[in-house]
Amino acid sequence: MTRNLIRSRTDKRAAACLIILAAIAAIAILLFIFQGLNQNNFDFNFPRRIKKIAAMILVSICVGYSSVVFQTITESRILTPGVMGLDSLYLFIQSFIVYLMGAEKLMRMNSSLHFILSVGAMMAASLIIYRLVFRAEGFNIYTLVLAGMIMGTFFRGISSFLQLLIDPNEFSILQGSLFASFRNINEKLLGVSCIIVAVSLFFTRKDISRFDVLGLSKDNAISLGIYYDSLIKRTMLVISALTAVSTVLVGPVTFLGILLVSLSREILKTYRHRYLIPGAVFMGIISLPVGQFISERLLSGNATVSVILNFIGGIYFIFILLKESRR
């Protein structure tokens, strides 16, 4: 059977842009690793930077993939897992498990085990969100955005409350390993995270072309032979696992996703997920080290990376809201 891959002009353009993005991302990675490195500090800096950049790449994959796909399954240009408060939900689940089991017991427990437990709980919770988002017909998109914002604040509030209830001494020991930020990347869980991401993406690799069809609309997708319900459920599970991974590595970054997915769309101008998803991931790999650089060098550590990303992403989000409401 001859399978000619016939490519249109937009495809070629998108592929070319993608190669450029990949090149810039590679430069960003190399700069991050080798900048200011000399023989004296090599042994100290090199392994730490490798771990850090690995975490950033992993976060870019998680946030990029889940944001692009979440927009497709919700048929919107505004919603992302971050905007819907999924990362805050994960923080809540994590704190809740600590509260339930007691910090002492958890300290003795393998941190990977705790993580996997949290991911499991997160996936279960995402099915409830699925019902909220997809079964509530006639819900307008702005109601959902509002609900997501409230949910995010709510869960963050509840988790800080739970953290207050945990014994302060135990909490301070746990804090480092449980509540990460870009300055305090959770390197211990890098290995497990890699495995979770690799497994989820491997088992759903055939869905990439199905997402293209889903972009047409639910009805057209069903007409074209997509098992709609199971695809959406499966995708929600993957999104929640990926959100859990990114949150456990660097903490919640609400507006990073919207930034990555919108820039990827703007630059690549295609509907094909086989370009859009890598595009968003490369944007992440470019913007995270740059954010780190701005935070550490230009602002001398006065603002964290997530503050910077949320600031830029938040402004972009308002811009998109205004643009979409005019359509």
Partner: protein
């Protein structure tokens, strides 16, 4: 052949489709008629598996619709809904190539390309193939969607109000294309349609719904009749024969 057995659908307490049973025969153009809210679109959505009925069965070529392998079924039935709001910015060619998804899963073969081209020729929009959908008139856009369905190359085609918001020229053009699909290629087409004169001039078979119930079914000749239509629409409808076509006059 498509068999519909005792289909019932409720929204809350309101029964939208009430115990409808019918058979849709092959190689014909069947029209669902009735007033707004009679349940036509809901019934069409149920038959084409977009909606699940609360009760009853739809059997397509001997197998229940939900028991079908959906990927195989998408090579046999296609459905086009009336509202096609879309987030994507696509060219006509890209849209129509989605019609080949059941066969090629996104990787077009030469055969797929040929089918897409045929569909575009059939709908006479081949010269517009690189234009973006949002640059087109409503009529041209609808043509592009019809072309997508044609490219899907299914035995059964369901269309929900394909003439909605179209001018006379495009409406007639679409009905002629559908007629050709039935007569030349032996397709089975089911449409929901409001303009009774288009039904009278182009359809073969009619299913009339009222308040969710199937009140009349039959050949065009039996239904396009002053008494029957008055019963369906609750208004006085006169039939005049002009150039051998039965034209309904209801502009009282």
């Amino acid at each position: 052949m498509i068999e519909i057995q005792n289909i019932t659908k409720k929204y809350g307490k309101k029964t939208v489709v009430n115990q409808v049973s019918a058979v849709i025969t092959e190689g014909r153009l069947t029209a669902f008629i009735g007033s707004n809210g009679a349940g036509k679109s809901t019934l069409l959505s149920i038959i084409s598996r977009l909606l699940k009925p609360d009760d009853g069965k739809v059997i397509i070529d001997g197998t229940e619709v939900l028991a079908w392998n959906q990927e195989e079924l998408s090579k046999r039935i296609s459905i086009l809904r009336q509202s096609n709001h879309m987030n994507l910015r696509l060219t006509i060619w890209e849209l129509v190539s989605f019609g080949r998804y059941p066969y090629s899963k996104g990787q077009l073969t030469e055969e797929d390309e040929e089918k897409i081209k045929e569909a575009l020729e059939y709908t006479e929009i081949l010269d517009l193939k690189d234009r973006y959908l949002d640059e087109l008139s409503g009529g041209q856009r609808q043509m592009a969607y019809i072309a997508m369905v044609i490219a899907q190359d299914t035995r059964y085609i369901f269309l929900d109000e394909p003439l909605n918001n179209l001018d006379m020229k495009h409406s007639v053009q679409i009905m002629k294309i559908l007629r050709k699909l039935v007569d030349d290629l032996g397709k089975t087409i089911v449409i929901v349609i409001h303009d009774i004169n288009f039904v009278s001039c182009y359809a073969d078979h009619i299913l009339a719904l009222k308040d969710g119930m199937l009140i009349k079914t039959g050949e065009k000749k039996e239904i396009i009749n002053s008494d029957v239509l008055s019963g369906i629409y609750d208004m006085n409808i006169q039939i005049n024969t002009i150039d051998g076509k039965d034209i309904c006059i209801y502009y009282t």
